[in-house]
């Protein structure tokens, strides 16, 4: 539920980065935080364990400018990826407007991606949302590992595994180097804003 303030003319949009543990959700946000520092007024908030794993969520708010006189405030969240934290993942998804599903392109993570996507589907259902209707972008992260000799899945395989039924926009990316991080973000912001506009008009 994006919240629209008619008095101050502000729309708050919630976008959640979802995916299996260690797939690079926090790294995506950290890159955005560094790269778009000028547009971001506040600090990124990270609730993590001593081992640098996300415990609750990361939060990064920034202003996107105005659409028809309304200030658009984008709020990026990540969920904790570890399997045991599903209750927390569900909490973070409350009121979500758009989701980026970050998949791990490493060969050995194939099954974890699929499980995580299935769980996203279930978790959204709990809020009476549908993965087929909610704005969604899929990112195949860690493609840079190919150059380091780590076996990664070809994009065609990832696409068949994760995006054959959803048919949403998808990107190969590397959150560490920043490759396609901004492209993913731009795509999800535009899909989400369009979807909010359509619901309102």
């Amino acid at each position: 539920m994006s919240f629209i303030n008619l008095k101050d003319k502000v729309v708050q949009v919630k976008i959640v980065y979802y995916g299996p543990g260690r797939c690079g959700k926090t790294t995506n946000l950290e890159y955005v935080n560094r790269k778009f520092r000028d547009q971001i007024q506040s600090e990124m908030v990270s609730l993590k364990t001593h081992g640098d794993r996300t415990l609750f969520f990361d939060f990064l708010p920034f202003d996107m400018g105005k659409i028809k006189g309304y200030d658009i405030k984008i709020q990026l969240y990540t969920v904790p990826g570890q399997v045991k934290y599903n209750a927390t993942r569900k909490l973070v998804l409350k009121g979500v407007d758009g989701v980026v599903f970050v998949a791990d392109a490493m060969e050995k993570q194939r099954e974890k991606n699929i499980r995580s996507l299935n769980q996203l589907h279930e978790n959204l259902q709990a809020y009476k949302e549908s993965i087929f209707k909610l704005p969604l972008v899929i990112q195949y992260n860690k493609v840079d590992l190919k150059d380091h000799g780590v076996p990664i899945l070809p994009t065609a395989v990832l696409r068949k595994d994760l995006n054959s039924r959803l048919k949403v926009p998808d990107f190969e990316a590397s959150a560490v180097t920043g490759y396609n991080v901004a492209a993913t973000l731009k795509k999800i912001i535009s899909s989400t804003v369009v979807s909010i506009q359509n619901k309102l008009l």
Partner: protein, 134 residues
């Protein structure tokens, strides 16, 4: 998907309640958020410089955590929450299932006095808010 839309008039009514009941009392900052972490409205006494957006996200998470703890010990909910610091304190109180009222105040206000005023403010806000749902 549900969209929360509050009219300008209703927001102004809520702002007036917050000013009359809490800001005048000496509370530094009052924020109403929803459980998803969105800010419905924020009022301050002029002097505070809080990052209200990050605050709202964390407060919603905090409250959701406490709610889950309540369920674990067999309570339906813990409807209020209080954090005490050296110079400033934070008081959280549930308005309804979707809304949370957060007051940040210094040591010059007693907790009891604040709570009395929070209860009154919440009753009035509920009436205004119910109007938005119909």
């Amino acid at each position: 998907m549900n969209y929360g839309i509050v009219s300008q008039e209703q927001l102004e009514q809520i702002d007036t309640i917050l000013s009359d009941k809490l800001i005048k009392l000496g509370v530094d900052c009052v924020i109403i958020i929803d459980m998803a972490g969105n800010i419905i409205t924020a009022k301050d006494s002029g002097g505070s410089k809080y990052d209200v957006y990050s605050f709202a996200a964390l407060a919603a998470g905090n409250f959701a955590t406490v709610d889950a703890m309540a369920k674990l010990v067999g309570e339906a909910e813990f409807s209020l929450l209080f954090h005490k610091g050296q110079d400033s304190n934070i008081h959280f109180s549930k308005i309804d299932d979707e809304l949370l009222l957060i007051s940040m105040f210094g040591k010059e206000i007693s907790l009891g006095f604040l709570r009395l005023n929070v209860v009154e403010a919440i009753e009035q806000i509920r009436k205004v808010w119910e109007g938005t749902q119909n």
